[in-house]
Assembly symmetry: C2
DNA sequence: ACTTGGGACTAGACCGGTCGGTCTAGTCCC
DNA sequence: GGGACTAGACCGACCGGTCTAGTCCCAAGT
């Protein structure tokens, strides 16, 4: 739900949520145990979207692996644009809730790890193909990419512009192709 | 105030705040117009600290400019450690409030821009000294560094570990020295 | 030197509103 | 007739913020 991204967890009241969904409270608490459960399920659905995007971008084996990785992030950038540059839901909830909720902290970290893991597989392909240095560490490179992406997404949100995302990807892929991170 | 970083803006209630400060409500609303004003002043104080850190790290002209930049971030990493890896206050508030408050959105973006600007000056020195390619764009490089740092800080917070910060800095400085971002 | 007036600040009772969540009644459909 | 679901009144707690009363301290007035 975009409301969660826009207002944040604490900033989104049940009333506003219900009004936007045009649903009464009874329905909400029939489907969700509580507000936390709701947010957790939103995260689940978000991650299903992300994995679908990864399938689409990374699974296109006609392209070279490095290009597939970049394409995933370019697609994500495109979806940010559609939402009006609100950044990433995981980044938003992660920052807001990591300090108070172990449940969210762990969950969101696992989400990032999952994205990085799939990216790492593709990077390993690139390494074997010789598109990145042989002594690169794909896991490390992938984690780094996801982390930096999140930072660029925050800045993109603050500025209402895709520029930080583009700059970050340009730098990363130019550097990755030429240097190792072992 | 660390409470703001830990709980977030909406997550930090006036009551909890007052108890922690051992101050009655009257005092609080004597010193601050409202909760927003309080947070804004916390940001101001935070930025004074940051600028002091920049003075200390970047002003040490005995070291080469690139090393000074890295030192600033290493120092920041050290302060994150002392706080128990809660990441960056600007990143936290930025993510939480950018969607609903133009005031905070603009303010926080300006803070990042200020840090990047001072970093850029030092990077320009590095460029002139030949420590980074002559066709590098220091402004772009600095903004990128700050953005990626914020992403690594979020991940560091989620994992309770400095590893993402270190990995990011290693990658950045290795790449910056060898390639251009013009 | 003592009084006294007033701003800075402390102190917390109090306010309406909204929060997340529960409950009961009713509807729909198999 | 009985579960799945809708519907919204209702709940106590807590929210951010106001208000009045009182304390402290220092400067001006005599």
């Amino acid at each position: 739900m975009a409301l969660l991204l826009e207002h944040g967890y604490h900033g989104l009241g049940t009333q506003a949520l219900l009004e936007a969904a045009r649903a009464p409270k009874g329905s909400f608490y029939h489907h969700f145990a509580d507000k936390e459960d709701f947010a957790l399920q939103v995260i689940d659905e978000f991650m299903r979207h992300v994995h679908a995007g990864l399938d689409q971008a990374l699974g296109d084996t006609r392209r070279p692996p490095l290009e597939r990785v970049r394409r995933f992030f370019e697609m994500t950038k495109e979806s940010y644009k559609k939402e009006g540059y609100l950044g990433c839901l995981m980044g938003g909830l992660g920052q807001e809730l990591a300090g108070t909720s172990e449940v969210f902290r762990r969950r969101i970290d696992r989400c990032f790890a999952a994205i990085a893991e799939r990216t790492a597989e593709c990077l390993e392909e690139a390494r074997q193909a010789g598109d990145i240095p042989a002594d690169s560490d794909p896991r490390r490179m992938a984690s780094l990419l996801v982390d930096c992406w999140e930072g660029a997404a925050l800045r993109s949100r603050l500025r209402g512009s895709p520029a930080p995302l583009t700059a970050m990807l340009d730098f990363y892929f130019r550097s990755a192709a030429g240097r190792s991170t072992a």
